[in-house]
C-alpha cells in the first residue's frame, strides 16, 4: 500500500512569488523573513521524500464557473497547465506545467465515489494559484506528479465544514489503501481570516487576529472537534468575507487525523493576512 509521507497544510499567498524574487527597491521589507520561513517549511516536505503530491485547493473562478459548479472535483489528467492571465497580471505568477498521476486520480475517484462522495472530475484542468502557490513554496522544481483536488469555498451554496473534514479523512484512508509502493504527500492550502473586496481588506494584519490565533491553535493541536463546534457556514463570514477558505484547513485536519498534533508549525503575521504552515509525519506516529 502507498505511504502517506507527509500531510501539509498552509495558507497560499499569491504575493509570495513576487516578494521572494524581487530585488533592490522593489523588495518589500518583510521578504527576507518570509523567504526564510518558507525555506524551512519547504524542508519539511523535502525530507519526507515524496513521489507524488495530492494537492487540495480551490479554483478562484478561473476554469470553474457558476453555470456548472462542482463542490468537490478531482483532476484526472496526464498533465496540468497552470496559472492564468489574471494571475500573471495581478501577482506576477509564471505559467507552469506539471505532470499528473492518473492512476492515483482514478483510484481516488472510484473509491471516493463508492465511499459516498459524489466527486466531480476533470480530464483537462488548468490549475490556479491555490495549487501553484504551494508548489512554488514547497516544491519549486515542480518535478513531481500531482493529483489536484478542488473544493468550493467560493460560490455559495457551499458544503458544510463537517463535509470538508469528512472528505479529508476519506482522502487519507484512500491514499493509504492505494495499491502502490509510492510515497504520497497530501498538501492542502486555504486561508485564515481573510477579506477580499470588502471594507476590511488589506489592513496591517488579517481582518480578525483573534480568529487567526484560535485557528492556528486548532490546526497545530489537531483539534478538529473544537473547530467544528465553533465554525459554521454562517460564522465564517464574521472573521472576513473570504474566510470560508478555512474549510480547506479543516479538510486537511481531517487528513492529519483528529487530535494529532502537527510535527511542525509556524506562522507569519503579514499585512492583509496571517500566514500559517503545518506539517505532520504519519509514519513517525505509526
Amino acid at each position: 500500500m502507498a505511504t502517506v509521507a507527509a500531510v501539509i497544510a498552509s495558507t497560499h499567498h499569491p504575493f509570495y512569488y513576487r516578494a521572494s524574487t524581487s530585488t533592490g527597491a522593489d523588495r518589500p521589507p518583510f521578504a527576507d523573513e518570509w523567504v526564510a520561513k518558507i525555506e524551512a517549511f519547504r524542508e519539511t516536505l523535502t525530507r519526507a521524500r515524496p513521489d507524488i503530491l495530492v494537492m487540495v485547493g480551490s479554483d478562484h473562478f478561473h476554469q470553474l464557473w457558476l453555470d456548472n459548479m462542482p463542490q468537490f472535483l478531482v483532476g484526472k489528467a496526464p498533465f496540468y497547465d497552470a496559472n492564468f492571465y489574471n494571475e500573471e497580471r495581478e501577482f506576477g505568477l509564471p505559467r507552469m506545467f506539471v505532470r499528473g498521476d492518473e492512476d492515483l486520480s482514478g483510484y481516488l475517484l472510484r473509491q471516493g465515489i463508492d465511499a459516498g462522495f459524489d466527486l466531480a472530475f476533470s480530464n483537462e484542468l488548468r490549475i490556479d494559484h491555490s495549487i501553484t502557490c504551494p508548489l512554488i513554496t514547497l516544491r519549486p522544481e515542480a518535478d513531481l506528479p500531482i493529483v489536484p483536488i478542488y473544493t468550493n469555498i467560493f460560490a455559495p451554496p457551499l458544503p458544510q465544514p463537517k463535509r470538508f473534514a469528512e472528505l479529508g479523512k476519506a482522502i487519507r484512508q484512500l491514499v493509504e489503501s492505494w495499491p502502490s509502493d509510492k510515497r504520497v504527500a497530501i498538501i492542502g492550502t486555504g486561508h485564515l481570516s481573510l477579506e477580499l473586496g470588502g471594507p476590511r481588506q488589506f489592513g496591517p494584519h488579517g481582518p480578525d487576529p483573534e480568529f487567526d490565533r484560535k485557528a492556528v491553535g486548532w490546526i497545530a493541536s489537531g483539534d478538529l472537534p473544537a473547530a467544528l463546534a465553533e465554525v459554521s457556514l454562517d460564522s465564517l463570514w464574521l472573521p472576513g468575507n473570504a474566510t470560508h477558505g478555512f474549510m480547506d484547513f479543516m479538510l486537511m485536519m481531517g487528513v492529519a487525523g483528529e487530535n494529532v498534533k502537527a510535527d511542525y508549525s509556524d506562522s507569519l503575521d503579514l499585512f492583509h493576512t496571517m500566514e500559517a504552515y503545518f506539517t505532520w509525519y504519519p509514519e513517525a506516529a505509526a
Partner: protein
C-alpha cells in the same frame, strides 16, 4: 435581481485583456455591447445555443456603466470578481503600493456585517 449576470460580466471581462482595457476606457459602451451580444452566450456552448432570458436590472446596468464598485458590492456581486477586475483597471492610477485597494476598502467602510448576500 440578476447577480449571476453581474458576475458573468465581471468574470468574462476580467479574463480577457482587451476587454479589461475596453471596459476601463468606455464603460457605457462596453456594458451595452456586452448585454446585447454576450450576456446570453453560455460559456461552454456554441454561440448558437445561447440563452434567451438574461438581462440586467436598471440598477445593475447603471452600476456597471459607472464603474460603481460600491454599488456592485451592495447589489451582491461576488466580492472577489469585482475586486480582481477593478484592481486590473485602476491600480495603475495610484502611486503607492495597495493605494487603490485601500481606497476601495475606505469607500466600502459604511458597510457592516452582515454584508449583502453574494449567493446566486
Amino acid at each position: 435581481m440578476s447577480k449571476y449576470l453581474l458576475n458573468k460580466f465581471l468574470y468574462t471581462v476580467d479574463r480577457d485583456p482587451d476587454l479589461v482595457e475596453r471596459y476601463r476606457a468606455d464603460p457605457i459602451g462596453t456594458v451595452a455591447w456586452w448585454e446585447a451580444e454576450r450576456a446570453n452566450v453560455i460559456l461552454n456552448l456554441p454561440e448558437v445555443e445561447r440563452s434567451t432570458w438574461l438581462t440586467f436590472t436598471d440598477a445593475e446596468r447603471e452600476a456597471l456603466a459607472t464603474h460603481d464598485f460600491v454599488k456592485l458590492f451592495e447589489l451582491g456581486a461576488h466580492n472577489f470578481l469585482t475586486l480582481t477586475l477593478f484592481i486590473a483597471m485602476f491600480e495603475r492610477d495610484y502611486d503607492e503600493p495597495l493605494g487603490f485597494q485601500l481606497e476601495y476598502a475606505r469607500r466600502l467602510s459604511h458597510f457592516s456585517l452582515p454584508y449583502p448576500d453574494i449567493s446566486t
